[in-house]
Every structure is written in structure tokens, then in C-alpha cells.
């Protein structure tokens, strides 16, 4: 799965740690999602979408 997390984060000038704190996860989780090593669960994907104020499909897409 592809995602725009890194771009969305950069647009807000957030570090990975900033985003991790806002999501209530570890920095390594954010890093793993951004680099495509880990696909988040649906609840976490919804939390990410809510944080950025976007629908999930605007952040995550199929390969």
C-alpha cells in the first residue's frame, strides 16, 4: 500500500516525533508507515485521516 504521510507531514513542518505524539504512537511506527514497511490497522488509518482532516483514500492507496 502507498501513502502520502511523509508529504502531508512535511506540509505541516512536523517531525516524525511530532506526528507520532499527535497519533499516540511511537516515532518508529510513523517511520515504518512512511517507508511502506508497515501498513497501519484500520483504526490507526482512521486516526491518521482524522488528524489531517482528509478521507482515508486521500492518504492511502493501493500499490
Amino acid at each position: 500500500m502507498n501513502n502520502r504521510l511523509k508529504v502531508l507531514r512535511a506540509e505541516r513542518s512536523w517531525s516524525q516525533q511530532d506526528l507520532a505524539d499527535r497519533l499516540g504512537v511511537s516515532r518508529q511506527s510513523v517511520n515504518a508507515i512512511e517507508t511502506g514497511r508497515y501498513d497501519p490497522s484500520l483504526p490507526l488509518a482512521f486516526t491518521i485521516a482524522d488528524l489531517f482532516g482528509l478521507p482515508i483514500e486521500a492518504i492511502f492507496s493501493r500499490d
Binding site: 505524539d21 499516540g24 504512537v25 511511537s26 516515532r27 518508529q28 517511520n31 515504518a32 508497515y38
Partner: protein, 140 residues
């Protein structure tokens, strides 16, 4: 916003583990010293042996609690993966060693070494996580 429940779970894990390890080391060293000094009766020996064994059992319980209490799904995945690798590592060695010793090719060893190899396997699991996911898995 900066409070991280997984970090709190990790702190509890370290605190519990340190407590159990303190009891374990005290019982083990104290028991060995008492045995060498011939101060240990049969009932005391059983009690100390059971305390040592129970500490190892509690270690597994504490690891299980960490899996349950960790809120960070990715970190939990890493920990579960690492533990599965550790289990496979220790049980595989136990099986191979068991057959080799059964055919008198190598000497038998005390069974308490298998949990030790399980803990070595935890490190192997961390290395596997580093290779696969780019992180050792410990919360920073």
C-alpha cells in the same frame, strides 16, 4: 499529547522485570552459597529451587503483560514477532540437542538452559526485526 501509553507499559515492564530478576538472583546466589556451606536442608532446597523456577515463569508472564498493555500496534507486532522467533530458536535447538543426546552423540544438559536460549533468541528476533522493519523494536 506527548504522553505515550506504550512507553508507560514499557516502564512497567522494566520495573516488573527488575523486581523479579532481583528475587531470582538473590535466591539463586543465596541458595548456591547455602548449599556449598551445607546449610541447606531438603525442604529449603526445594523452596529455593521453586522460587528460581517461578521467577522464570513470571518473566514469561511479564512479557505477556507487555504484549497486552502495549498500545502501539507496530511495536506490539515487533515484540510478538521477536518472541515467536525466540520460541522457534530455543525449541529447535532443544529438539536437535534432545535427539543428539538421545543417541549419545553429545552430553545431556540441565533443562533450565532452554529458557536461557529463549532469551538469547529474543536478541535474534530483534536482529530479524532490524533487518525486516529497520528497527530493533525497543521504545525510545
Amino acid at each position: 499529547m506527548s504522553s505515550n501509553p506504550s512507553r508507560a507499559a514499557m516502564k512497567r515492564y522494566v520495573w516488573r522485570l527488575m523486581t523479579v530478576m532481583a528475587v531470582y538472583v538473590t535466591a539463586l546466589i543465596g541458595g548456591q552459597l547455602a548449599m556449598k556451606a551445607e546449610l541447606l536442608g531438603p525442604q529449603a532446597a526445594i523452596a529455593i529451587a521453586l522460587v528460581c523456577g517461578l521467577c522464570i515463569v513470571l518473566t514469561f508472564v511479564i512479557m505477556g503483560r507487555l504484549m497486552i498493555e502495549t498500545q502501539d500496534e507496530f511495536v506490539r507486532l515487533l515484540f510478538v514477532r521477536q518472541t515467536l522467533i525466540a520460541s522457534g530458536f530455543a525449541l529447535s535447538l532443544a529438539a536437535v540437542h534432545g535427539f543428539l543426546s538421545d543417541f549419545d552423540i553429545i552430553a545431556r544438559i540441565d533443562a533450565y538452559w532452554w529458557p536461557v536460549l529463549f532469551f538469547v533468541g529474543q536478541f535474534v528476533g530483534q536482529v530479524a526485526n532490524r533487518v525486516q522493519y529497520g528497527t530493533w523494536g525497543a521504545l525510545k
